[in-house]
Amino acid sequence: MLRKLLLVTFIFMFVAQALAAQVYLTRNGTIRFFSEAPLENIEAVNRQVNSALNVENGEFVFRLPMRSFSFEKALMQEHFNDNFVESHKYPNASFQGEIPDIDDLDLTSGEEIDVVVQGELTIKDVTKIIREAGTLRMEDDTIHGKAVFIVKPEAYNIRIPNRYTRNIASEIEVSVDVTLSPQ
């Protein structure tokens, strides 16, 4: 009787652990953007990115507060929040999508695996379908996810006044870097 109870307890713990391990999370993912323009280069970083990856079905999401983008120059940060992304009206950006065919990938190989990430990226009041290349690499119990892609500000209703066209690029490089741990 005791052995049966121990066996049931063990199976229950294993199943619970396996179920819990389907979702990998972080609260401190990093998103950077880089603008290269004739007069100056501008870089900003946000380390308050909530992100989750379900390795069973490939669902991948992230959400971040726009005010957490940190710039080298205070004036740039002010313009970014007040004039460009209007973070008082649209305080978050988010992505909701998937990594298709994730069950065909061998995450346990420990190698960096090329993946495609597709879904809806929302910035300000605009949602666009995107499909971008990225990588996943499993190390010990964590998954490192990376993607670099281009965002055009005008596509997300971010209007750059003419006087800033030599300061801010029309195409911004966005880098996503997340280290996800089991739930």
Binding site: V49, R63, P65, R67, S68, L75, H88
Partner: protein, 143 residues
Amino acid sequence: MKTWKIILVAIAIFGVIAALIVWFFVYNKPHPDFIGAEPDMELPAEQLYFDFIDDEQLANETYIDKVLQIHGEIADVEQVDDMVILSFVFQDGMFGGEGVRCTIHESFHEEALSLEVGSVVTVKGYCTGFTGSDVIIEHASFP
């Protein structure tokens, strides 16, 4: 002729001074001093969190871009890369314990890491928003 020269030199000097003022005090103005700033509001960390849970839009308008002084019982102090994060936790969610997460200013890292879980602490910092699981306070210090 001499008067014109004096006027031109004066205009040039004025122009250089104006350019320097713009360069130092506008283009290169410093980031806000969140450590020295007076808080815009003081409230319990629990109230801050549940205000976001109850009505996120209203809480966005009320708290984001404000210097807040909050107090509560420490649930965790963790080091994430070069960041030290002090958490107040009020309920369980997808991300585990969820509540208010304060990224501590580097000059207060040592003090934060010496705090004991369960002790009550007051933290002042800049509210940047809500991630869906936590309210985020950055540049946090102990007033």
